[in-house]
């Protein structure tokens, strides 16, 4: 039992500078800002489709029932500019790292409110739900304030004010001390839960039959693009529901916009069958990322392939999920290795250095993840 507790504590709380959560913060914010506005939870609560038809569900329905606490949806026009300005400011201060922790906390809470508000009307956004939770983790976890404007100012203040010179290393100062890694690992747990739940959902609703490739064929062949929303029924409909329509309509089907390569695959049943099996294996097997570095490398690379596939074949981009993978990369190790190599070979061209960085980035982060732990702990 003690062994398990020790392992548990080591997994979540043993200080490490392996992940450099601040680098993830920057990349995550760049993605957040660069992503299409339609992807943001904010835009759907500002400009929802036909809001008059929407019916509040829990908890908005409960708050509205209390009268005084009526939740505004959509956000009234006179406040929209102010809300957008405040949200944008928080995005940029979080990216640059000005008052980093409060900025991240406010951004995470505001984003969750907008996401939750939209969901409280029954419309769940699969693409933005996980990034919203990751933002909460980023706001609370140690290490997310590294590589920030605050850090530069602090370094400048310490050197000028107290020493009058710039002897200390800015790079090390920005990277900060080793911290508990529960932030990036919690994001990995969230990813594992979401993928595993997706796999279980397929088995729960369709059983192993889902792997025969027919469902994927339906979406890749473009049959989901029709003038009307299609629904399916369950032959084992509840007898008590039979009176409604006699067939037991039970679920709506989603839509995919297949690309020419997707349509090509749909013509070959063997290919859709293989892809279906691989999808199930990937989703149900993703929790194996916790069984060692090799499994983690394998499933993260498989995840990149999976999301590239859904985007390039079905027109369903979930890039926010792949951005989450950046949380578990050894940024410090990759950067230090690159800098070391750059110093020893100064004649290299920029493009060659960039290629070397990418190679070392993948090799250091994926294969030598824990190498720098002891080094960073010695610093402290």
């Amino acid at each position: 039992m003690r062994f398990l507790v020790a392992k548990w504590n080591r997994f979540w709380f043993e200080p490490t500078s392996q992940y450099q959560f601040g680098v993830f913060r920057i990349l995550f914010m760049v993605w957040f800002i660069a992503a299409d506005r339609a992807d943001r939870p904010l835009s759907v609560v500002l400009y929802p489709q036909s809001p008059e038809l929407m019916e509040p569900q829990f908890p908005v329905a409960l708050l509205n029932a209390l009268g005084e606490l009526s939740v505004p949806y959509p956000i009234p026009e006179e406040y929209r500019a102010m809300v957008v300005a405040a949200f944008t400011l928080l995005l940029w201060t979080s990216l640059v790292g000005i008052l980093t922790r409060p900025s991240l906390a406010l951004l995470a809470v505001a984003n969750l409110y907008f996401e939750g508000l939209h969901s409280s009307f029954g419309l769940f956004s699969h693409a933005t739900s996980l990034p919203s939770l990751a933002l909460l983790v980023l706001a609370a976890a140690p290490g997310s304030t590294s590589w920030s404007g605050d850090g530069v100012l602090l370094w400048f203040w310490r050197n000028v004010r107290h020493r009058g010179s710039f002897k200390s290393d800015l790079f090390r100062s920005l990277a900060g001390p080793a911290v508990a890694p529960w932030g990036p690992r919690l994001i990995l747990v969230l990813l594992a839960i979401v993928y595993f739940a997706s796999g279980v959902s397929k088995l729960r609703h369709s059983g192993l039959q889902w792997a025969d490739g027919e469902t994927l064929n339906y979406y890749l062949s473009g049959k989901s693009i029709t003038n009307w929303t299609q629904f399916v029924a369950d032959p084992a409909v509840l007898l008590s529901q039979d009176w409604r329509d006699g067939v037991g309509v039970g679920a709506y089907l989603y839509r995919a916009i297949p690309t020419p390569p997707g349509v090509f695959i749909a013509r070959h049943r063997a290919l859709t069958c293989v892809l279906s099996i691989l999808t199930l294996l990937f989703e149900l097997g993703f929790p194996l990322v916790f069984c060692g570095r090799r499994w983690r490398i394998f499933f993260l690379l498989a995840g990149v392939g999976f999301h590239t596939g859904t985007a390039k074949l079905m027109g369903i981009p979930f890039w926010g999920y792949t951005v989450m993978y950046l949380a578990v990369i050894d940024w410090r190790g990759a950067l230090e290795a690159t800098l070391r190599r750059g110093k020893s070979r100064p004649s290299r061209s920029c493009s060659k250095n960039a290629v070397r960085f990418l190679i070392s980035f993948s090799s250091q982060s994926l294969f030598q993840g824990g190498k720098y732990n002891s080094c960073s702990q010695q610093e402290n």
Binding site: S201, K202, Q230, F231, S240, V249
Partner: protein, 133 residues
Amino acid sequence: MFAHYVAEETPRYAFRFIGEGENFEIELHASYVDSEESENKRMFFLYAYGGAIHVSHFQLRKGDLKGAFERRVARYFRRYFSVLEKRYEERLRGIQRIRLELVRVNSESRVIEVRTIGHYDTKSETFQHTWSP
């Protein structure tokens, strides 16, 4: 997402709202209420109709009763009709009832069977379920 099994032969259905006037009928498209078809029908399904599949997470209405079903659908159509009225379009004037149809479509999305589930009366603001096996 995409968890429900769909094959070539899987029966597929769609909902249709038909506006009925004195001497005319008009299919009420989602664009008449400034909505997209998928968003519009999903909302109808979530708020009013409800899923009847054993393991559905689409607002499963376990043990749904006719009265409760009629009230939910009426509530939805009340909102729907109030949006329609605001459009002031000539062709939408004079609608007295909205007929709720469940249509079965084939793999080419052609209608092969129509079931009238019930009618919403715009005056009394009530929905009457009429379909019987």
